[in-house]
């Protein structure tokens, strides 16, 4: 088991014919993921490395049985691309695209909510990987293998760092949820899914400054999560009012600070590492007992 992505996942890449789309399609295929289709409007009938490219998502789904969309299209086309995957009732849509206007994200998220058929991960995220089973996005598959830790993170490179630190233990599923102000899948969604997954024993949760998602996750952990959770929060040194790389990473006045998030998590019984390596050590102790 794993969450949302497994060996039955059949991946469709929106924007497969673009340079990023082609590059990461090859990486996904090389890591053993089953990529069954590409979609680029106007390029139906062509192919990338023998994978058929269709002009629209509905046709691609009908012909290939794709059940996961990975979106690599430029920001200006992201809203239409996601809406297309929702219309085709694809259950999982992973939006890698960075720089999507937040009004577009709010609209396509609401659109997916209204339809009830599609979970969105991202935008501005590295995607989701269930090591050894499937890989939807850009997370390197060669860092680590299958294991029993679940990982949810707002940051791509911190996801890779954590996977690397715990590479000898391995992961059930790693989800990069993205650092934008509005994201389709939250820490809480992932925590619930990991709690229900019989093959996940413990959870690493990585957060950062901005918004109150981590505080809400802390309250949720206290009430609903029984598996051990280790946390890490980035951005203690971030100044007020400055966006730190991710569109959503901003301390506004006294809200969204790393200190408040770490304190909320600790109050909920989560062991919080001061550095990524310390968080990894805490998780190692939980899993190995030493």
């Amino acid at each position: 088991m794993s969450i949302w992505l497994d060996s039955k996942s059949r991946i469709l890449v929106q924007g497969m014919t673009g340079s990023e789309g082609t590059k990461h399609t090859r990486r996904m295929v090389a890591s053993g993921a089953e990529v069954v289709a590409g979609v680029t409007p106007g390029k139906g009938g062509t192919a990338v490395d023998g994978i058929p490219v269709f002009g629209d998502v509905a046709t691609a789904v009908e012909q290939t049985g794709a059940n996961v969309c990975v979106v690599f299209v430029p920001p200006r086309f992201a809203k239409a691309a996601v809406q297309e995957s929702v219309n085709a009732q694809v259950p999982l849509c992973v939006v890698i695209t960075e720089g999507v206007p937040v009004h577009d994200t709010a609209a396509f998220f609401q659109y997916a909510q209204n339809s009830g058929s599609t979970r969105i991960i991202g935008p501005n995220c590295p995607g989701i990987i269930s090591p050894g089973l499937s890989n939807a996005g850009i997370i390197p598959a060669d860092i680590t293998g299958r294991g029993r830790i679940g990982l949810v993170s707002k940051s791509g490179t911190l996801t890779y760092q954590m996977m690397y630190e715990l590479r000898d233990i391995g992961f059930s599923t790693c989800v990069g949820i993205g650092g934008d102000p509005i994201i389709g899948t939250t820490h809480i969604d992932c925590l619930d899914a990991f709690e229900a997954d019989p093959e996940t024993d413990a959870i690493v949760m990585i957060g950062e400054i901005g918004g109150d998602a981590e505080e809400r996750a802390a309250a949720h952990i206290a009430a609903h999560i029984n598996k051990p959770v280790v946390g890490y929060i980035a951005g203690f040194t971030a100044p007020e009012g400055k966006t730190m790389g991710h569109a959503g990473a901003i301390v506004s006045g006294s809200s969204g600070t790393a200190t408040a998030k770490a304190e909320a998590l600790e109050a909920a019984g989560v062991r919080v590492g001061k550095t990524p390596s310390e968080a990894a050590r805490l998780m190692r102790t939980i899993i190995t007992g030493s």
Binding site: P75, Q110, D142, T157, Y160, A247
Partner: protein
């Protein structure tokens, strides 16, 4: 991007939200001219992106053009919470009967938008929310349906706006949603919205925040960027398309990925506590790919910051393998030398991840005495803090 009041009110005007007439200026003479054009009493208002202008003496009434010039002279150059006033808005002095509050903002927690309205305007709204929450009406605004006239009317009734101004206020709420969507704003706030003694409902003040991700579809937003307020190194980094934020410490930071770079700042600050409070000098994310070209631009920017005493390059090779990253660092040092840059600051590198051993071998073979390799992020942070502090400590 936060806008000045005059920019916000200009956008209101463009989208048919009623504002008090006025113009922006930078000198006392211009203020006199604008006051003459408006005729009658005016208000001279400091344009700064911070609250509490009134208390700081940044908003003054003037009865005639001469007095407007005098008040302008008083306010120009004033330091308001670290913001020096260089621009003034001269507006008609509305005869105010009542002050209200309305706003619409992005609601991250609920992944939609939130509209708020209160008849207690002209004061800090956080204060009203904290002390008299029942006086502040909050309504979710659906990202697809938007602020409908029906929702706006329901809000003004619930907030107990006087019947005579309900329709006008509801229309302004719908107008604010027009500003939100047409301009890709994440916040539009009017505090106060005023009822004048002659029965008009006007935005007396305005606050707008624009979404940087949407600049590509609004050409005119480039003109709204406030270059005066930006650190010169940040400006240069922006021209090179680097994701850079100037901070106040001594350790230059370069890393790949926003989360890892934020984390690097923290780890350096912790390590720096041991060395008299050494802190990061900047945030610089060169992106997941960490290419050589971007690396050399990044090193150039960071090494040329006079506050920087040592540099920490912290890269995790995920998508790009570490040998490519190491080659990027070597190429960057070569490029800097070719540009004639004199590099004299120590550079501590931690590269980890995919093909790390090969990457480290490349840097070791490079043999530049300024470049030092440390295996882990925590140890590298300690080392760079020590180097930045110098033999005597900070």
């Amino acid at each position: 991007m936060d806008l000045y009041e005059y920019q916000a009110k200009h956008l209101f005007d463009v989208h048919n939200v009623a504002v008090t007439p006025g113009e922006v200026c930078t000198t006392a003479e211009q203020a006199r001219e604008i006051a003459r054009k408006i005729g009658g009493p005016v208000v001279v208002k400091a344009q700064v992106k911070t609250g509490g202008r009134g208390k700081a003496g940044g908003v003054k009434l003037a009865a005639d053009p001469d007095e407007a010039a005098e008040r302008a002279r008083d306010i120009l150059g004033l330091d308001i919470k670290g913001h020096v006033v260089s621009r003034l808005l001269v507006t008609e002095a509305a005869d105010i009967a009542e002050e209200y509050y309305i706003s619409i903002l992005l609601d991250r927690s609920n992944r939609s938008f939130l509209a708020m309205a209160s008849v207690e305007g002209g004061v800090e709204i956080e204060e009203v929310a904290a002390t008299r929450p029942e006086a502040l009406i909050r309504e979710r605004v659906d990202a697809i349906d938007g602020m409908t006239m029906e929702l706006a009317q329901r809000m003004v009734v619930a907030a107990k706006f006087p019947v005579a101004v309900q329709q006008a206020t509801a229309e302004i709420l719908v107008g604010l949603w027009r500003v939100m969507t047409a301009e890709d704003a994440t916040l539009v706030e009017v505090n106060p919205l005023v009822l004048t003694t002659d029965g008009r409902v006007l935005a007396l003040d305005g606050k707008v925040t624009l979404d940087g991700n949407a600049h590509y579809r609004h050409e005119h937003h480039a003109d709204l960027v406030d270059r005066e307020g930006i650190d010169p190194i940040e400006l240069r980094a922006g021209e090179l398309d680097l994701n850079y934020v100037k901070l106040d410490g001594e350790v230059g930071i370069i890393g790949n990925g926003a989360g890892l770079v934020m984390s690097t700042l923290d780890v350096v600050a912790y390590a720096g506590e041991e060395f008299g409070g050494v802190r990061p000098a900047n945030f610089l994310d060169i992106g997941g790919g960490a290419s050589a070209a971007v690396m050399s631009n990044g090193l150039d920017i960071v090494l040329n910051d006079p506050d920087v005493r040592a540099v920490f390059v912290n890269v995790f090779g995920g998508i790009t393998s570490c040998d490519a990253v190491a080659n990027g660092i070597v190429a960057a040092m070569g490029e800097l030398a070719a540009r004639g840059a004199q590099v004299s600051k120590p550079i501590v590198c931690r590269i980890d991840g995919n093909n790390a051993e090969e990457g480290r071998r490349i840097l070791t073979d490079f043999g530049d005495e300024l470049v030092e390799l440390v295996d882990t992020m925590d140890d590298a942070a300690r080392r760079v803090a020590q180097l930045a502090a110098g033999p005597e400590g900070k």
